[in-house]
């Protein structure tokens, strides 16, 4: 039993906004839902299954199903942080493969740029670790910094190597008129920017943006009936990684397992991948993903990214051609959705001409939600260009 080529991405839409003080979160979800459905040539009336994460207001997507007027026979509002929309792609594909539904809508929306941040991990009441982490001043950039510092210690990775990741993202963002940060930066710019949580500088961090995005998945029959170029879901994997009771290795993510499962299901190898969308909450998040997904050996990520490896269109492994979360957009503090959307653009040949990967046939999108060093949700999706 596999989801391979059982479900197709018919619609993908990124909200054009980056600062949306005049919209409710529900309205953002609705706008991206309409955008993705219009892209597919479908309407809300066609949707029979709904997927959303912890960013949706109300109880597990119920409020949004009501607000959108959806007729839902399959529902998934599981959450594991910003990677969950990649997880939802896998779940939706599985539901489509087993006939539980035929048109799946996945939405993301939020306004962290114009509303105050909540405490990490406090989305639904105090979690069990609450008395042992926030009391010491745990914050998001700091726990990513702990992973970066340990990686530097164990493998000799440098701040300049991490900076190469931002440089590549910024070289792509210059072509995206909607990117929050379009300025091309140098390694020097990154390492000379103010230290946020050592060893991570301000430019090692992603942007904070309002906004959202949505995807529509359909079964093969509907994909055939649509005019739009549909993208096949070839494989998916997900894994939760956590502290293991205090025995974690902070240089390793759940990408080891989510990547392994996704490659196995897709039946492709690392060398088949033409484009990667890698969750880039921080530069270190990308570096660990490259290693854990098997694009280079553990500890070699710093060397791997040198020499323009990640730069489109001609780098060895072009990544995040929209500018990623590092420069373009990280709506609702959740970067998984936009990794999927740009991967779909690449496979459709609809990325910006300056960064379109020639003959882009197979793409991988990967998410790291939650927090490095403590607990994270990883999800990997592999997509194929071939239409039905």
């Amino acid at each position: 039993m596999t989801i391979r080529r059982k479900a197709f991405i018919a619609g993908a839409y990124e909200h054009p906004g980056r600062e949306l003080p005049d919209r409710s979160i529900a309205q953002i979800h609705a706008e991206v839902a309409l955008g993705a459905l219009a892209d597919a040539g479908l309407t809300l009336a066609d949707v029979d299954s709904y997927f959303t994460g912890g960013d949706a207001p109300g109880l597990g997507g119920l409020a949004m199903a009501d607000y959108l007027g959806l007729s839902v026979r399959y529902m998934d509002s599981s959450d594991m942080g910003g990677s969950v929309y990649l997880s939802h792609v896998g779940h939706a594909a599985a539901a489509i493969a087993t006939g539980k539904c035929s048109v799946a809508l996945i939405t993301l929306g939020g306004r962290p740029r114009t509303t105050a941040l909540r405490a990490p991990g406090q989305l639904m009441g105090a979690p069990p670790e609450a008395a042992f982490e926030p009391v010491f001043g745990m914050n998001v950039s700091a726990v990513y910094a702990l992973a970066a510092a340990r990686h530097i210690h164990e493998y000799g990775t440098t701040s300049e190597q991490l900076a190469e990741i931002k440089v590549a993202a910024s070289s792509h963002a210059q072509h995206n008129e909607r990117a929050l940060l379009r300025k091309v930066v140098t390694v020097e710019d990154v390492v000379n920017s103010p230290m946020v949580s050592s060893p991570l500088h301000r430019l090692d961090c992603c942007v904070v943006t309002d906004g959202g995005g949505a995807l529509v998945l359909v079964n093969e029959d509907i994909a055939k009936s649509l005019d739009r170029h549909c993208i096949a879901v070839l494989g998916h994997g997900e894994a939760i990684e956590h502290t293991k009771g205090g025995w974690q290795d902070v240089t390793v993510t759940g990408g080891v397992r989510s990547g392994r499962d996704a490659f196995e299901e897709a039946g492709v190898s690392r060398s088949d991948i033409d484009y990667v969308g890698l969750y880039d909450s921080f530069t270190i998040t990308v570096l660990l993903a490259l290693e854990d997904l098997g694009f280079c050996d553990k500890g070699e990520g710093g060397k791997f990214v040198l020499g323009g490896t990640l730069q489109a269109p001609f780098g060895k492994l072009p990544f995040n051609t929209d500018g990623g979360s590092l420069c373009n957009n990280h709506p609702a503090n959740r970067g998984g959705m936009t990794k999927m959307i740009e991967a779909v653009r690449q496979l459709r040949g609809e990325a910006h001409a300056a960064v379109q990967v020639p003959d882009c046939e197979i793409a991988l999108a990967h998410g790291t939600g939650g927090w490095l060093s403590t607990r994270m949700g990883n999800a990997t999706v592999i997509l194929g260009r071939e239409d039905v």
Binding site: P134, G137, A142, V196, W247
Partner: protein, 138 residues
């Protein structure tokens, strides 16, 4: 520069399963759970062993010694830490094995190093508990 002197000491929310731990901190004692079935020491305190899932955990008085596994000088505190200035957040590997998230205090962050030996200190929250933080071992 020495950091950590004026750090806030937020009151932890005590649960039935963590009451013994926090009570001990008020006496300057760091308890670490040890599984009697698989001998794994577990951090943070909880109802069952995260390694073998046995609920036969015993409270062991930790030595209070450990080493810095990783650390960051962070400028981005939130909540109680919003206005306290830069501070060191660290993972300390306890002598008993597990790593705990904590702060390194009474140290110069510029010379602090991964692998450095550290010793527990307790900062009173004023509510019958104390936060176990660490300072460089002398």
């Amino acid at each position: 520069m020495t950091t950590g002197a004026g750090l806030p000491a937020p009151i932890p929310e005590v649960q039935p399963e963590t009451a013994a731990f926090w009570e001990a901190t008020s006496r300057g004692v760091l308890l670490v759970q040890r599984c009697t079935a698989c001998s794994t020491s577990v951090w943070y305190p909880r109802f069952l062993c995260s390694n073998c899932h046995s609920d036969e955990l015993e409270q062991v008085e930790a030595s209070g010694r450990g080493t810095v596994y990783s650390f960051t000088l962070t400028t981005r505190g939130i909540l109680e830490y919003k206005d306290c200035g830069p501070y060191v957040l660290a993972l300390v590997e306890l002598e008993e094995g597990p790593k705990m998230l904590t702060n390194i205090v009474e140290c110069d962050p510029e010379t602090l190093a991964i692998g450095q030996p550290v010793q527990v200190v307790f900062h009173d929250t004023g509510a019958g508990s104390a936060l176990p933080r660490f300072r460089p071992a002398v």
